[in-house]
Amino acid sequence: MCHCGTNIAGTVDIYGLTRYAAGLPGVVVAREYKYMCSDPGQELIRQDIREHNLDRIVVAACSPHLHEHTFRQAVGQAGLNPYYFHMVNLREHDAWVHTDKAAATDKAMDLLRAAVRRVVWHVPLEPRQVPIHSDVLVVGGGIAGIDAALTLANAGKRVYLVEREPTIGGHMAQFDKTFPTLDCAACILTPKMTAVKAHKNITLWTWSEVRQVEGYVGNFSVTVCRKPRYVVEDLCVGCLECIQACVYKQAKVPDAFNLGLGKRKPIYIPFPQAVPQVVVIDPDTCIEFKSGKCKKTCVEVCAERNAIDFHQKEEIRTIQVGSIVLATGFEVFDAARVPYYGYGLYPNVYTALEVERLVNASGPTGGEILLRDGRKPSTVGIVHCVGSRDEHTNRYCSRVCCMYSLKLAHLIKEKTGAEVYSFYIDIRAPGKAFEEFYNRVAEEGVVFIRGKVADVYPANGDGRLILQAEDTLLGMVRKIPVDMVVLSTGLEPRPDAGDVRRLFNIGCSREGFFLERHPKLAPVNTFADGIFVAGCCQGPKDIPDTVAQSGAAAAQALALIDAGVVELEPNTAHVIEEVCSGCKTCIPLCPYQAISFVEAKRAHINEVLCKGCGTCVAACPSGSIRQNLFEDEEIFEEIEGLLMEA
């Protein structure tokens, strides 16, 4: 029985529990200790096993998700089979969630009694060892994926980097400068992008999506769909002459990279530094696809390079990898969801990312901050927390908006000399050199108004917009007329994050970001062994944190690969074949096709494919399938133990 300091002992009477345990049938030693998971705590277990010749161990402590492995190891070190062990969750499931000490102690006794009865039925098991395939899949080619891929590749591992868009770079490629240092985003990112393309250990598949994931840690089989770009990647040299030659003389199609602020042609490259430097044809707007009657000037100009292929089909590739890093990024909050800010209604309301593109030298305005009517704004209002810290949209803080708002305030002021008003709830600047940056921007004359903007509406006649907010420092309602409104939109999970996590069989937090195995101790692991997360797909974060996390994810993958083998829980199911009647009930229930009907007209479970859910065990009408660690008898005993009178 573990006190866990006062974590458990504060609510559960550990001494009483220990006395109770000592009296349970079969219990030889009942012991309490401050921290069972500590070295001395584990040593107690080992000692008792040796001294008393124990053959079953129950530890009542925290969640088995934290320390089951620790204690199994300790049991194993004492020469006992590690599976002669069962753990009781007294902390998360009892002490921490109850206040009444007597009730919590009663519950602890019930749980303990159940475990003691259960563990009697445990049988020795060996963990399954499976080899780890050393190749790694990285999903997502933003800065997180790029960095993870490079780290792994530099360590000599073969990496598949799969990106949905025609180019890698992600959101970072759309940024102009980065806070607080104001480095040029492209300057620090593009070398990494080219390094990816150039790296001999990296197979880069852009314009591609993962369709299917099978297998388990160390042995995933992943199906990737390479969408047709109608340009043969190996033949395209990136000269971009085809774009020039396109029958469309003017770019007419809204350009996604510039968020529709600029235009592109049906054949295009997302942005000049795109990697790979390969054009892509958009079949929805290309005349050849629409009518079949284009002059195909692009093909002409491509000439003997012959890179354009209107008949290209999607290509399905299946790869074997041992681990996977998910770095699928975020989605910018759709500002139109907050109608009172007038985004989409008033042309001079912009999102922050749009302003990034306006500020950027390769953006649609060549780096000039111009309103849609071509004017330069002379007053600009920046609205913080759009889609963040708001019970109607997202309750969480998107972590980066304060800082990028400061950055944009600085850039706007620098480029236009405009008067800039920044409407904030709190300024959150906890990173390295962040507070200093805030002070600097404040000193530059940006006006900070502490208040949430309640409304944006047109001023009478002059085309300006009025920002109305209650200034909570002055205690009065302010109405500030501005030429331009910048909405500091928050970060959200990708709209298809749910599909993606199902594909990879991991969890999502309540907000929809991928769920880490433990928020502190396993921040890049997931509950699916061998699958790691990095970057904003796990939650909003800035670039330094993203890169740190991608490094961590890469390191975790490397650790796995270099171990060479991984131990799997032996909780697989098996058919007692001599009593199986061959009814086949189980066969369609297995999602992993692990159960087959063998020649002897019996069901057979391939233990390598079995993941141990136990669904077939519960369904087997003649009780002829058993599951290690979750045997019927064990669970029956547990239930009976929970409910019998103390």
């Binding site: 969890g507 769920l515 065990v617």
Partner: protein
């Protein structure tokens, strides 16, 4: 009331969602009724209807199964099998005089610690209102 009825509820929680949500509820120090005793299973699909009946037979006043949301099963579709069995078993239990409030299947993801609290508290209240589940034993009757 010295002898106020405290329901006993046995919960079967999926290792990957509801069990973790209960862990999260703990980590978050949420407080809920202490009437639930949890049995950890790898998947709600492992919950054999025999376990549910055994719990009721051994004196549980309610049985709660916690699994992953539809489409979110860690094992792809074990929760659907749990749902199928639940739906039929619930009907059988109705015939045996056991009310729906005493047998629940809830989808609770690993992130929904709050939901563990809400579901447990709600169930405890409802079962408390129903009173103890007494399966009357035989006695001779005229």
């Amino acid at each position: 009331m010295p002898d106020a009825f405290e329901p006993k509820i046995v919960a079967f929680f999926c290792n990957w969602c509801t069990y973790l949500a209960a862990d999260l509820a703990g980590t978050s120090r949420l407080k809920y009724a202490p009437n639930v005793r949890t049995v950890r299973v790898m998947c709600s699909g492992r919950v054999d209807p025999q376990f549910v009946l055994e719990a009721f037979a051994q004196g549980a006043d309610g049985v709660l199964i916690g699994g992953c949301h539809p489409g979110d099963c860690h094992y792809q579709e074990g929760n659907y099998k749990a749902l199928r069995r639940y739906e039929l078993l619930r009907r059988l239990l109705n015939q045996m005089g056991i009310e729906n409030e005493r047998f629940r299947l809830e989808w609770i993801s690993a992130a929904e610690g709050e939901r563990v609290k809400a579901v447990v508290n709600d169930m405890v209240e409802k079962v408390r209102a129903l009173g103890p589940l007494v399966i009357r034993e035989h006695e001779e009757v005229a």
